[in-house]
């Protein structure tokens, strides 16, 4: 699928196991630069592990991961994680206010985030400026997820990894987040790799999709493949999800 696109992230025969339990086996493929690729598949397929291999929170036991054609080991871990940001389903926060959380990425570099910059970030993700001094524990699920995304954007990542960020949101928040991700992708040309259980979302938002099962990539291509999968297992999975 990536023949015509420059890969932002490339996997070459990547295997990962936890202890003696294999989690990923022989993953090869690319995530095209500037595009939205969704990762779908049943729970335990190894999707989150694959995502964490992209920003060096985990390292493969064998095979290579390349970010912008450079082996991942050639990046300093700190630089790599600023280049490849991640937003998690649980949207973990450090205690305190929204401002404290938005400031965190710069604080870690010994810099500070101005109030104006923080307000602009909130505006970018469709949140009111007044939320800046709100305690994070008082945020709704949707607001929390938007703050988490805004915080990841502070580092201006070239690749944004999203791990089921809409799975616990109501329909309105879900649509807002989808629009936000598309906006980020278009405005900054950010490569998006998005784990989702929502196949409708994968069809509508994703340019491409990877279907994963039991630690393997069983089918990849344009998102329309989910309408008529060639692989029997994928067909069964899609039909199962539709029910």
């Amino acid at each position: 699928m990536s023949i015509n696109y420059r890969p932002a992230v490339h996997f070459n025969h990547v295997a990962f196991s936890f202890g003696k339990t294999p989690i990923l086996t022989g993953i090869t493929g690319s995530f095209p630069e500037g595009k939205i690729t969704t990762l779908v598949g049943p729970s335990g397929a190894g999707k989150t592990t694959l995502l964490k291999l992209c920003n060096g929170l985990l390292s493969p036991q064998s095979g290579e991961v390349y970010i912008k054609d450079k082996p991942i080991e050639d990046y300093e871990p700190v630089d790599l994680r600023r280049l490849v940001g991640i937003a998690l389903q649980s949207a973990p926060m450090v205690g305190g206010t929204v401002y404290k959380n938005l400031s965190l990425p710069l604080e870690l570099q010994g810099k500070s985030l101005s109030e104006a910059q923080a307000k602009e970030l909130l505006h970018d993700v469709g949140l009111e400026e007044e939320l800046l001094d709100r305690k994070v524990k008082d945020l709704s699920g949707g607001q929390r997820q938007k703050v988490s995304i805004a915080r990841t954007l502070v580092n201006k990542p070239a690749v944004l990894l999203l791990d089921e960020i809409t799975s616990s949101l109501d329909r309105t928040s879900l649509k807002e987040i989808e629009e936000l991700i598309v906006k980020i992708n278009k405005k900054y040309g950010t490569t998006i790799i998005w784990i989702t259980h929502n196949l409708q979302q994968a069809r509508e938002i994703g340019d491409f999709t990877w279907v994963m099962m039991n630690g393997e990539v069983v089918e990849t291509g344009e998102s329309s493949l989910l309408n008529d999968p060639a692989n029997d297992k994928v067909r069964q999975f899609v039909m199962g999800e539709a029910q």
Binding site: L57, P92, V94, L108, R151
Partner: protein, 252 residues
């Protein structure tokens, strides 16, 4: 005190035994074992101390202190089994605390360099350092477990391991030091410290006993601070690998 008088004090063991039996607490066996162990261990230590004091040999003093450190290390490391190389880290911490405190006491001539002073003071310092290590390791391992998301969040935003573990480290250091500081705030008001009481009962001048107690209390403040800070800063790097990844058991 004669052995006859001492044996009469066993009444204080009979009372909890009777209560345990009457109320079905099931603590009779433990109480008897604890009593026997304390009698045997303390009498043995008493005779060993008498021998060491009489010999006035630095080698025996050194051996006694080394034995204390080995026993304390063995006891404390169990609580930090999840941390790689914890035994050597606890041992290094205990040795450092002992060297620092005795270095100051002997270096400034605060206490004489005799077994009578070095051994009991070392016992208090090492014993407290061991308890502090256990408190610290207990808290630190549970902080790491319960704040894995936060640690990984900071790593994922480009933070270093030290930044990622900072809050948990500071919380654990503070939590382990609080009992020492709090107990010192009420000392003398609620209870008289054991060492001071012992000296007064043995006929020492109360003011002299208080002076020694103050010395020990200040010493234990240093012990508490140095133990938890040192153990904390020795332990946290082993939680991460060379690629700044949190090494944890549950990854999926």
């Amino acid at each position: 005190m004669s052995y006859l008088t001492l044996s009469i004090t066993l009444i204080f063991v009979v009372i909890p035994l009777l209560l345990s039996k009457t109320l079905n607490l099931g603590l009779e066996r433990d109480t008897i074992v604890a009593t026997l162990r304390s009698i045997v261990q303390l009498l043995a230590v008493g005779y060993v101390l008498k021998f060491v004091f009489d010999s006035e040999s630095l080698v025996y003093i050194f051996l006694m202190v080394a034995l204390m450190i080995v026993a304390a290390t063995h006891n404390a490391q169990k609580k930090g089994a999840a941390i790689q190389g914890i035994t050597s880290k606890v041992a290094v911490t205990l040795i450092s605390v002992e060297v620092l405190t005795q270095g100051i006491l002997l270096g400034f001539n605060i206490t004489p360099a005799t077994a009578q002073y070095i051994i009991p003071i070392s016992g208090m310092v090492i014993g407290n350092s061991m308890v502090l290590s256990i408190l610290f390791l207990n808290r630190f391992t549970s902080e790491i477990e319960s704040h894995q998301d936060e640690t990984e969040l900071i790593l994922s935003l480009g933070g270093t391991p030290k930044q990622a573990i900072h809050t948990q480290l500071i919380n654990s250091i503070k939590a382990s030091m609080i009992p020492t500081i709090e107990s010192q705030k009420t000392v003398g008001l609620v209870q008289l410290p054991g060492m001071m009481s012992g000296q007064i009962i043995a006929g020492a001048d109360p003011i002299q006993a208080v002076q020694f107690q103050l010395l020990i209390m200040f010493l234990l403040l240093t012990t508490a601070a140095v133990t938890s800070v040192m153990l904390g800063f020795l332990s946290y790097p082993t939680l991460f690998n060379r690629r700044m990844q949190l090494m944890k058991k549950d990854l999926i």
